[in-house]
């Protein structure tokens, strides 16, 4: 369909793969592509022949390199959607792919709705009639899953805070609009002061949410997995095995102390920091030590604790005591090691002691059961159904950023001396952006607010 806006999305699966593809489609696809891509030879995509792969780098808004990539421009109608399409083929894994997508969004594309590429392809005659039913199913299924994922991703605290900001914005809008539609109430001076304070307050909240947003935080800081257990249960063998089987990441975080063994690895495309309490001086009295030294601190920062148990010794009283001392915040997984050396092990008591956390059996020597550990790590990051979760998170963060942008716009408008009619444009846009996160529509909310807050009448 001609004249739509320009959309972008990750076209490949989000598992660990060699190559990730980010697809941009729409009338401005080439312009977006050229803003987000610097070719090695310097010539922009717009000057290239259609369907020609170009080597270069994806760059962010400030010109910083995000990833090395191949760029290709496919001019409509000879493309998947029938529109102009630009694709970036970058390194696989969630970090690279996510950052390249962010670069495309920053360059002016909008995040695609579920099934939107396929729908456009259909509307432009690139998919035939027989496939139309399938398009419907894709939209429905993806929408449902995306919504489900979005709801699941919404932690109580997060959505409470978004709602609180949204309520404040609605209140501000109600003041602005009441001042405009009912000038006899003479609300202007009070309203403008209130709105300025409200914009600042909301911006602080949004910045806080962005800093804490799970996806962004995960990608920036990695998932912290701490391996705990009594001495000689095989903690370092497990760590070494996980490091050997997964791609190591060069640690760019400065100031990491080396008295703890910490390894950065990419597990299923997720950046993970594996830490082993074995790096700390081992004493016989594990339990006593727990309360005093650094391992306590590590465990408190952990997103996931792997409690290693020696299958040959069984679930001992010391193990049990250790479980009780684990801090409550992190997810836990029991890892029964050396399973290759015993015939029988009762998982039940371990699972019970861990209070519902899963238990897996492994052999750090043979590598058996490691896949399950990796699965548990991915689950702890909330990316089991990877695609939908990631998209839900990306959408939320994008909406938060947009809301912040509008609030800054509102403050600028006010500082320029313009009145409530213009300020209201950005405040309402910020409110609508936050509504995308909580799934609430604009509707009659505003009028309800105005009429419940102000006494208006003849």
């Amino acid at each position: 369909m001609k004249g739509e806006d320009t959309i972008a999305a990750i076209a490949t699966g989000l598992g660990e793969a060699g190559v990730g593809i980010i697809r941009v489609s729409g009338p401005l696809a080439v312009a977006v592509g050229d803003r987000a891509f610097r070719s090695r030879l310097g010539a922009p995509l717009i000057k290239r022949r259609s369907h020609q792969l170009v080597h270069g780098w994806v760059v962010d808004g400030a010109g910083g390199v995000v990833d090395e990539a191949l760029g290709v421009c496919m001019r409509g109608p000879h493309s998947f959607t029938g529109e102009d399409v630009v694709e970036f083929h970058c390194h696989g894994g969630q970090i690279a792919v996510r950052q390249v997508l962010a670069a495309a969004l920053a360059a002016g594309a909008r995040l695609a709705e579920p099934g939107e590429f396929t729908r456009r392809a259909f509307l432009n005659g690139r998919v035939d009639l027989a496939q139309a039913e399938a398009v419907i199913d894709i939209i429905r299924a993806k929408t449902d899953r995306a919504m489900e994922a979005a709801v699941r991703q919404l932690s109580g605290a997060f959505s409470t805070e978004v709602r609180a900001i949204r309520d404040r914005l609605l209140e501000m809008t109600a003041h602005l609009e009441a001042d405009i539609d009912f000038p006899e109430l003479e609300l202007e001076v009070h309203t403008l002061l209130q709105v300025e304070a409200g914009c600042h307050w909301s911006l602080e909240g949004i910045d806080r949410l962005l800093a804490g947003a799970r996806q962004g935080k995960l990608l920036r800081e990695g998932l912290r997995v701490v391996i705990a257990g009594r001495p000689n249960v095989g903690k370092s063998s497990l760590l070494n095995r996980l490091v050997r089987e997964n791609r190591a990441i060069v640690n760019e975080v400065p100031g990491t102390t080396r008295d703890v063994i910490e390894e950065w690895v990419s597990i299923r495309g997720l950046p993970v920091i594996l830490a082993d309490t074995a790096g700390i001086r081992e004493t016989a009295d594990v339990v006593e030590r727990m309360g005093v030294d650094r391992s306590r601190e590590m465990l408190e920062k952990a997103d996931l604790i792997l409690l290693v148990i020696d299958a040959t010794e069984g679930f001992t009283a010391d193990d049990r005591q250790l479980v009780e001392l684990l801090p409550g915040r992190a997810a836990r997984l029991g890892v029964v090691n050396k399973l290759d050396l015993v015939n029988l092990f009762a998982f039940g008591p371990v699972a019970e002691a861990l209070g519902g956390g899963g238990v897996v059996g492994v052999s750090a020597v043979t590598g058996d059961g490691l896949g399950e550990v990796e699965e548990a790590i991915a689950r702890a990051a909330g990316v089991v159904d990877k695609e939908e979760s990631l998209i839900a998170n990306t959408r939320q963060e994008e909406a938060l950023r947009r809301a912040a942008l509008h609030l800054r716009g509102a403050l600028e408008t006010k500082a320029s001396g313009f009145g409530p009619d213009l300020i209201s444009i950005d405040v309402r846009a910020a409110w609508a952006a936050l509504g995308e996160i909580t799934g609430e529509s604009v509707g009659e909310d505003l009028l309800d607010q105005i009429f419940s807050r102000f006494c208006i009448g003849k």
């Binding site: 739509e4 419907i136 929408t143 405009i180 539609d181 009429f451 003849k458």
Partner: protein
């Protein structure tokens, strides 16, 4: 009894909607008849004696731009004229006029009498004649039949009207006029769904019994604007309004009598509007407030009758009097007419097409308060659209449908036919998405060409309009070209304005973009034209100053327009569509939107539903 006489268009009702409908149809060359229950009550203002205000004033300007009557008559008969929100941006500035009720109604009657092709008749319409789903004519209560190719229903609040004052209720239209009793049943027989709303009006008092000395006087503007492009801004004597307040004693009187308030005793069933609550409602809902505003507004030049804005009520008359006498300056007030509540039938507006034609009966249009709106301006706007489209229907031309980015009329009609309303609908600027574009100052630029196209804008108006339009364009071009040099005179002027001094020369347009610089400052800097008409200055200045913001809205409008351009065939069957949510399917089937754009605004229809609808439409198109 056989058909008495044939017309092209018959308009039922001669209130604010009926007048515009009848005048529009007649001016478009249709043989038109307008029926009223009482010829002496054409264009009555049964509630407040004022026209305009935010969004409402915009509607009046738009009615004028299309060739309607309300603005012209308001300009002839105003007692006071003020530009509201004058300190705010141009988009929300709005004219509001106090009107001489008597003079207005009389002027409207004369305007109708002097219009060729138009018969204005007294008669209560009892039934609509329909054959094969098409309108054929009307029947009066006295048994006369009149043939018509199209009928515009604009019966206001008269359908099954019932007024309530305290314990006293009676079958009545507003101001004690006869209600219309038979028509509702016949509308239902035609398949129209009918609902019931409530509204109210405050008491009127004798000015001679009021002490104004302690009240705040509100005068009209010194150089008042006019609604109509065709009116001349000559000096005019104006009357003031007065502002006073209720107090705790007033609230106490009301609270002590709540058990006698029909609103709380269950005597009133219809849903009332939240934006004009009765005073008893205010006292209950805003119990913490120590006072509420009360405006005293003159109803006419010569009469002592005052409208008490803020005191709408259906409390018993003696309680109304007692409550009024607690207000400062009104201790000895004489009530001339008691306030009352009125309940009435309305036609559920989602049964209408965007042309305001009913989906059930071809050639039957509904416009005005009968569609569940409130306000004279909302009524007039719909009457105008109904009248125009009745004429276009007979001429077998495409209906005039204004979009939400064309006009407040477009917002109003789209809201009514797409969303409906659970209370009497009032227009507000906050309902408009593209407020910056829908300014009152550019109503003519937005709409007069459309009015000309449908045949409602006559040569005189067209000449006045094109002259203004060309002058604005010329001034805009001139300001973009003429350069201001950073000489001492200019720098001095900028210093006085608290604006940054110039480093190099800039165009006048660039200078005007500074929020603190106005057009008259350009005159001082030697590049403005002191001789230009105020309307030209206002428009050119606004276009330049707000260009960035307007541009942003234009981009949004462009996106929406693409959705509006995707039409949905009227026979499109939603029943068999897989994937759509149940709610979406039901709503779509009942409202039958005309475009994807309209579909996307129906509550309960999600973006995913819209996406799927587009796929189904394409599927159908390809299959054909």
């Amino acid at each position: 009894m056989g058909i008495t006489k044939g017309y092209d268009v018959i308009v039922v009702g001669a209130g604010h909607a009926g007048i515009e409908a009848a005048l529009a149809a007649a001016r478009m060359g249709m043989r038109t008849a307008c029926f009223t229950t009482n010829l002496d009550n054409i264009g009555m203002m049964n509630c407040n004696p004022s026209i305009g205000g935010p969004a409402k004033g915009h509607l009046v300007k738009e009615i004028d731009a299309l060739g309607g009557q309300m603005g012209l008559t308001a300009d002839q008969t105003f007692l006071q004229m003020r530009l509201l929100n004058s300190g705010k941006g141009p988009a929300v500035q709005a004219l509001r006029a106090q009107i001489d009720k008597r003079a207005y109604a009389w002027a409207m009657r004369l305007a109708m009498e002097r219009t060729p092709n138009l018969d204005t008749k007294q008669g209560m319409i009892q039934d609509i004649i329909v054959e094969d789903g098409r309108v054929q004519g009307v029947v009066t209560a006295t048994g006369l039949q009149f043939a018509a190719k199209a009928v515009v229903l604009s019966t206001g609040t008269y359908l099954h009207g019932r007024t309530i004052v305290g314990e006293v209720t009676r079958q009545s239209g507003p101001s004690g006029l006869a209600p219309s009793v038979g028509l509702t049943a016949n509308l239902k027989r035609l398949g129209l769904q009918v609902g019931r709303f409530k509204t109210g009006t405050p008491p009127r008092v004798d000015a001679r019994s009021v002490d104004f000395s302690g009240m705040t006087r509100q005068d009209g503007d010194e150089e008042p604007w006019r609604f109509s492009l065709l009116s001349v801004r000559e000096a005019r004597k104006q009357l003031p309004c007065y502002l006073t307040y209720t107090n705790n004693r007033t609230h106490e009187v009301i609270r002590n009598n709540l058990h006698r308030a029909p609103l709380y005793t269950g005597a009133i069933e219809g849903r009332g509007p939240r934006y004009c609550p009765s005073v008893e409602d205010k006292v209950v809902r805003f119990a913490e407030r120590e006072n509420h505003q009360v405006f005293l507004e003159p109803e006419s030049w010569d009469s002592v009758e005052l409208y008490v804005l803020g005191m709408s009520t259906s409390l018993p008359e003696e309680v109304q009097i007692e409550a009024l006498r607690t207000i400062a300056g009104m201790e000895n007030v004489e009530v001339l007419r008691a306030g009352y509540a009125i309940e009435y039938d309305y036609v559920v507006s989602t049964q209408l097409k965007p042309s305001l034609e009913t989906k059930q009966v071809a050639g039957l249009f509904c416009g005005g308060q009968v569609n569940g709106t409130s306000g004279y301006e909302e009524a007039a706007a719909q009457g105008l659209i109904g009248g125009i489209n009745a004429a276009l229907y007979i001429q077998e031309r495409e209906p005039l449908v204004l979009s939400r980015s064309d006009a407040y009329i477009g917002v109003l009609v789209d809201d009514l036919v797409t969303k409906g309303s659970s209370e009497p609908y009032r227009i507000m600027t906050s309902r408009a998405e593209y407020r910056l574009m829908l300014r009152q100052d550019n109503a003519h630029l937005r709409l007069t060409e459309k009015g000309r196209e449908v045949g409602l804008v006559d040569d005189h108006r067209w000449a006045v309009f094109t002259e203004l339009r060309d002058a604005i364009r010329e001034e805009e071009r001139r300001l973009a070209k003429v350069v201001i040099a950073p000489d001492e005179e200019v720098q001095g002027a900028l210093r006085r304005l608290g604006s940054a001094e110039l480093k190099t020369g800039v165009t006048a347009a660039q200078m005007l973009k500074r929020p603190e610089v106005r057009y008259h400052d350009l005159v001082e800097m030697g590049v403005g034209r002191a001789d230009l008409e105020a309307a030209v200055v206002q428009e050119a200045e606004t276009l330049i100053k707000y260009e960035g913001y307007i541009q942003k809205e234009l981009e949004q409008v462009e996106r929406i327009r693409r959705l509006e351009a995707r039409r949905i065939p009227s026979d499109f069957n939603y029943a068999g569509l897989r994937g759509l949510s149940m709610e979406a399917r039901e709503k779509l089937a009942s409202i039958r939107p005309e475009s994807i754009g309209q579909a996307s605004r129906i509550s309960g229809v999600s973006p995913a539903d819209v996406a799927m609808l587009m796929v189904y439409l394409e599927q159908r198109r390809q299959a054909e």
